[in-house]
Symmetry: C2
Amino acid sequence: MNPQAEPVCDEPHAHRRDRRKPSVDEATLGRAAELFAALGDPPRLRLLALLAQGPACVSDLAEDEQEGMSTISQRLKVLRSASLVRRRRQGKHVIYALADQHVVDLVFNALAHASEAQVVGKPKE
Amino acid sequence: MNPQAEPVCDEPHAHRRDRRKPSVDEATLGRAAELFAALGDPPRLRLLALLAQGPACVSDLAEDEQEGMSTISQRLKVLRSASLVRRRRQGKHVIYALADQHVVDLVFNALAHASEAQVVGKPKE
DNA sequence: TCATCGGTTCAATGATTAATGAATTGATGA
DNA sequence: TCATCAATTCATTAATCATTGAACCGATGA
């Protein structure tokens, strides 16, 4: 009575759900989540967008963001422990830069996707 | 005396930092951050990995994860408001699935990257 | 209509996490 | 060595977020 494409659920609870195996190991999943979590904060993501324009030292970033150096340093610490940025000393200054091209792509892709999208609007219910 | 690739900083604070323009608008950045934040939690990411194997209803996901339905439902709510998953009703059940291929790619890429990596280890200092 | 089942929402609680200023470290130049 | 400047760390406080069970909603079948 319902020969459609999607499988029907006439049995009491039969969604074609054969037991799923543990798809990914926890360690991998944890690292991926940590990476996403580091990206999932507007101030930190803005910092990355800034670094995408080129390396910069902490005080310059602090000036751009109009925040204290302590605050910026803490944000960079999170990004660094997720391996998203690198740092090197240069005299009194510490220069930060995006870790690699992969990160650059990740940031740009996310921003591009986020600026498109929103066409359909997200479901409110 | 130092004709290398990286610009040198001999002036008191000259890192080739011409004033940066506001690279991205806040709204876009905010949406991108929300998306990352939704992905940045191991239990939620695990849920997505599970859904990457195919659609499933809440009670099955709850069983797989050995959690209450309320907990799973809340997690799905976060994923849904970030437009990462879709849902449809099927009789008494509500079936969740990844929103689109883009999300599938995103999840797989992240997991792939997280399982490679770690080769160099993250900087402890 | 009523009872039941799957799912969601609500409100309270506990746990993470970000921001902030003070103290500290490290490098430079006097 | 000392003073200074850039940056980090530390400890406190505030804010955010995840979890949980109870109440509620919506579809189904008796």
